[in-house]
Each structure stands twice: as structure tokens, then as C-alpha cells.
Amino acid sequence: MFQVRIHGRGGQGVVTAAEMLSIAAFDEGRYAQAFPSFGSERMGAPVMAFCRIDAKEIRTREPVMQPDALIIQDPTLLHQVDLFSGLPSSGYIIINSSRSFDELGIGELLGKFAADHLCAVAASELAMKFVGRPLPNAALLGGFAAISGQLRFDSVAKAISQKFPGKVGAANVAAARAAYELALSSIGSPVAHA
């Protein structure tokens, strides 16, 4: 089983991101479970969503305590919430930021992780460029696909198009593809920029 935990703030599409991940996994013939951790909608409040992916039926319903990957949609959470709780040193981290890990103040913390499991993607900027709105979730999924190798990019693209039909979907897919390629090219270099 592969478990992903997504952190962000209300209004950034954290839940949608988890749902898209689960759709992508489903399209690849796998079982997936995606669910939010919060209830009432509140713009700006810290939120989490989870996605589990497995080759067989997923029965457990507990929150993801030991994620295999973290997607951090909002770097302002970094020093506010214990984002990295439960992540093993072999875990993957994708952060939405145009700054380096050192600049974000987590360079030392991330030292214990494998460099090619980490990446910072300027997803909000990519979203602005391709979609016209700073919603980073689709782009971050592209980054996730690249770094983790858990999903084919095509599956992610298809899931995005399913969630966002028409032109909006295509634009989000473009942002995701850009992030995917940037992330791929950055593997090995711990300082990744858009």
C-alpha cells in the first residue's frame, strides 16, 4: 500500500488533489481511497487530505499516520503544523514553492531524506501561467508522479481532465505536465525551481 498525505489550506483544492490521485490510480486498475480530514469548509484554515493506493481492496479507514509521500500545497504551514509527522526517511516530499529548501528553513530537516525523493515545484506560479489562477493542486500531482513514480503521467492527466472538463482541464494538465518535466529533470539536485 502506498499512502499519500496532502497538506494545504482550505480553498487550495487539497481534497480535490487527493480525489484526483485516487481516480488516477483507479484508471490504472488499482484500488484507491481518498478522504479529507476536516469537515466544515473554511477558507484559509489548515486542512489535510489522504490517498491510499493498493493492488488489493483497502479496508482500513484510519487517517494516514505513516505516509509514504507528502504533498505540501502551502509552505506557510511549514512552521505552523507538524507536517512531517510519520514520514519515514525513505519518504517523498513535494512542496509548492519557488524557493529552495534552505530558503524555506527546512534544509537541515530534509537532510535525512533521499535527495531524489524531494522536490520543490513552483506550482502556484505554473498554475497562474497555464490556468490563470493560483490553484497548485494539479501541478503538484505532476510533480508527485515524477518523483514517486507511483503513477503514470497519463493517468494523472486523465484524472485531471475528468475533474475539470474542457479548457480548464486542459490548462491544468499543461501545468501538471510542466511540473512533471521540471521535477524529472531535477531529480538528483535538491534545489529545484520552476
Partner: protein, 417 residues
């Protein structure tokens, strides 16, 4: 057809396939996505021959369903928590009148303190009203149970509530197999009412009944649930024949054959328990789990048969009968009447407190050593409790308990556990 979708929408699609004629809805978290889905289907013409009514309260919602059902229409509504309490009078009324309404409960805690997260207190609050109560373990089962529910309700002329854990199931994306219309039509025939308002054959429904007859009317309700004990497994078997999978039924046993310890639980919690059971088994523990799907009628015989050979039973419940302890435990104890074995009640998950595999494994280990109390509270923060009790001892005007505790635990941001 296999789909990856939100549990609520899977329920909505299953209900739509049942050809409902009147749907009335009042919004309450976490059922909203179900009725929104159905509303959209009616509005854009996907669901035809169906009146979708936006009512002004839950009390109105079930009342509209009562009128519609009495006039011969297949009726549906959904609610949760405070909503089922607000319609409580109508819940008893529908059962007493024998109207085959199907209602989804998106299980949610009841306030005060106000809480939107999952536990079973809402369904449990109305457990004696005379409705059949079915609990879904997965979103697949949630969808399937609604199809079985309409069939069961109309056959017996008894309303049925399908209980689906709020957020955990309703708001989770899962793989669900949505049946096609032909399959559902083959399983669920059109509604033929036992009693109906009809100008060609007028009847009066709902008269006052005095001491000379009330007892018999009430007994016949109980008798209906007795018949349900037979019909529920039969309808589940028919469902399997038609749709190709196990769904519903009275109870299910998992790895109980040689189990020394058997856990009993309802709803989505069973999934997490199964994973924990597998891990405990791998470590040498002889443990299994019984999931109860039909809570009303309570399958006394079946639960007894499943548990009687165990050394100990751990009833894991997402509800608390304040002042006495467990609710499900009462039913389990009754089913074990005359049999000597150790029984433990574990209250867990109230107000959406996560139930983790780690905590379950610790619990199972303690149970196996018979180190549990008769009544236990899983992952209750005793420090917080004691601090609040101390506050109360220090001064009379200690302030509202809930707010004190929130301040104490320093609720900021989202926590993992």
C-alpha cells in the same frame, strides 16, 4: 459498472436506480452531497418521474415523505445527527403507521457539544422507534444496502434506515460498482402499498388507538422485525445472485472459527479492525471480528452462534449510553444469555476521534491478557479529563466544559493524531 467516486454520490446513484418518486431533503452535514446529487439528477432530467422537494426542516422532510408514501409513492430522504432528532416524532410516526420509507443516515455525533464528525449516536438515539437499521461497512455496501432497503421496506411495510459513516464513508472516494437499471428493476419491483390514500377506496389512516388495541398494534411492529430477521438474509442472497457480490445480511464473521477473542463492531470501523486482526493473527493471536449489519432487528441468534465458542468478546462501539455504558454491548450480552465468557465494552471514536490500527493492536493485546475493564474508553485523554475535573473543584464558576477543554488542548491547525 466500476467507478471511482465519492461515497455520497454512489449512494445517490443507487437510490436513483431504485426509481424513487418523491425525494425531500433538508441539508445537514454530512449527508448533503447525497441529496445534492439526487437533486441534480432530477433537475437535469437524468432521474425522471421523481419529485424533488426542498423542505424547511428535517421534521418537514420526513413528514413530506410520510404523506407521499401514504399516497402510494416510493419516498426517500436523508439526514444525520441533530436532524434525526428534530424529526424524531415523525420517525416514530412513520414506523407506527407502517410506511416503507427509506432514509439514509450519514452517521454523525449529536451535540452538545456541537460536532460534525462521525459516530453512531444519531442512529442509536432512534434505535427503538421501529425502523429497520442497517449499517454499511464500505461505500459499495452503502450503495447496495439502499437497493435492498427499498425491497425490504416495501415487502414488510416498515421503514428502513441505512447508516453510512459520515465523512469516513460519505466523503471518501472509493471504487464502487454501480449496477445498471435492468439489474435493479429485476430485483426491485414497483411499489405496491399495503395501505394507500385512494379516492376510489377511501380509508382513514392515523386514528387514535386506546388501551383496547394499542398493545396489539405495537406488538405487530415488533413481529415485523422478527420477520425481517428471516427476510434480510434471504434478500441478501437474492442480491448476490442478481448482482454477484456479498452485501448486507444480518452479520458477517471474519477469522472467527478458532478465535479466542472476538471483536464486535459496526460500520466502516470493521475495515480497520480487519487489518488489525490480520496483523495480530500474524503475530500469533487468535482473534477475529464479527460485524453486525442489521442492528435492528438485532440478530440475537446469529450473534450468539458466532460468539459462543470464544473466550472473550470485545464490543467496540462508536456510541455511549451516558449513565450506563455500551449500547451494542447490551444486545451482545443479551444474545449471550446463559453463556459464560468475558465481555468487554470499548467506547471509541466518539465525535470523530480517529480509531487507529496501532491503538487497536494495543487494545487487542490487553484484551488477550484480560487486562481490560468492563467499560473502556479507547484513546481518551485522561490528563485532559482530570484537569477539567480539577478546574471544577477549584471554583464554582469554572466556565463551560467544552471551551475549557478546547483551550486546554490548544486547538490550532490540523493535527495528524
Amino acid at each position: 459498472m466500476l467507478k471511482q467516486m465519492e461515497g455520497s454520490l454512489a449512494v445517490a446513484q443507487a437510490v436513483a436506480l431504485c426509481r424513487p418518486e418523491v425525494i425531500c431533503a433538508y441539508p445537514i452535514t454530512p449527508q448533503t452531497h447525497i441529496v445534492e446529487g439526487l437533486g441534480e439528477m432530477v433537475k437535469d432530467g437524468e432521474l425522471t418521474n421523481c419529485e424533488f422537494i426542498n423542505v424547511e426542516s428535517e421534521f418537514a422532510a420526513l413528514s413530506v415523505a410520510i404523506g407521499a408514501s401514504a399516497a402510494g409513492a416510493r419516498s426517500y430522504t436523508a439526514t444525520a445527527s441533530q436532524g434525526i432528532l428534530f424529526m424524531a416524532e415523525a420517525v416514530y410516526n412513520a414506523a407506527g403507521l407502517g410506511l416503507p420509507i427509506v432514509m439514509t443516515i450519514g452517521n454523525r455525533a449529536i451535540g452538545a457539544p456541537i460536532n460534525i464528525w462521525n459516530d453512531h449516536s444519531d442512529s442509536m438515539a432512534l434505535r427503538d422507534a421501529g425502523w429497520i437499521q442497517l449499517f454499511a461497512e464500505t461505500n459499495q455496501e452503502a450503495a447496495d444496502l439502499h437497493i435492498q432497503a427499498f425491497r425490504l421496506a416495501e415487502e414488510l411495510s416498515c421503514p428502513v434506515m441505512v447508516c453510512v459513516d459520515g465523512f469516513i464513508l460519505t466523503h471518501a472516494y472509493d471504487r464502487v460498482d454501480i449496477p445498471d437499471q435492468a439489474q435493479v428493476d429485476a430485483y426491485l419491483p414497483p411499489f405496491e402499498p399495503v395501505q394507500v390514500l385512494d379516492c376510489k377506496d377511501p380509508v382513514s389512516i392515523g386514528a387514535m388507538v386506546g388501551p383496547e388495541a394499542f398493545f396489539e398494534v405495537r406488538y405487530l411492529q415488533h413481529h415485523k422485525q422478527d420477520r425481517a430477521l428471516d427476510r434480510i438474509p434471504q434478500l441478501a442472497a437474492e442480491f448476490k445472485a442478481q448482482f454477484g457480490r456479498d452485501s448486507g445480511g444480518l452479520i458477517r464473521s471474519y477469522r472467527c472459527d478458532d478465535a479466542e477473542t472476538i471483536v464486535v463492531a459496526l460500520g466502516s470501523l470493521v475495515g480497520t479492525v480487519k487489518d488489525a486482526v490480520d496483523e495480530a493473527r500474524a503475530a500469533g493471536s487468535q482473534i477475529g471480528v464479527v460485524s453486525i449489519c442489521s442492528f435492528r432487528p438485532f440478530p440475537l441468534k446469529q450473534v450468539r452462534a458466532a460468539l459462543q465458542s470464544a473466550k472473550r468478546v470485545v464490543v467496540l462501539e462508536k456510541c455511549l449510553a451516558v449513565g450506563i455504558g455500551g449500547i451494542v454491548s447490551d444486545g451482545v450480552r443479551k444474545s449471550l444469555s446463559g453463556i459464560q465468557l468475558k465481555g468487554y465494552t470499548v467506547i471509541a471514536g466518539l465525535g470523530g476521534r480517529p480509531i487507529t490500527k496501532r491503538s487497536l493492536l494495543d487494545l487487542f493485546a490487553s484484551a488477550a491478557r484480560d487486562e481490560l475493564q468492563e467499560l473502556n474508553f479507547l484513546d481518551l485523554n485522561w490528563d485532559v479529563v482530570h484537569r477539567e475535573l480539577e478546574r471544577g473543584r477549584q471554583q464554582r464558576r469554572a466556565g463551560p466544559t467544552a471551551e475549557n477543554i478546547l483551550r486546554d488542548v490548544g486547538v490550532t491547525g490540523a493535527r495528524v493524531a
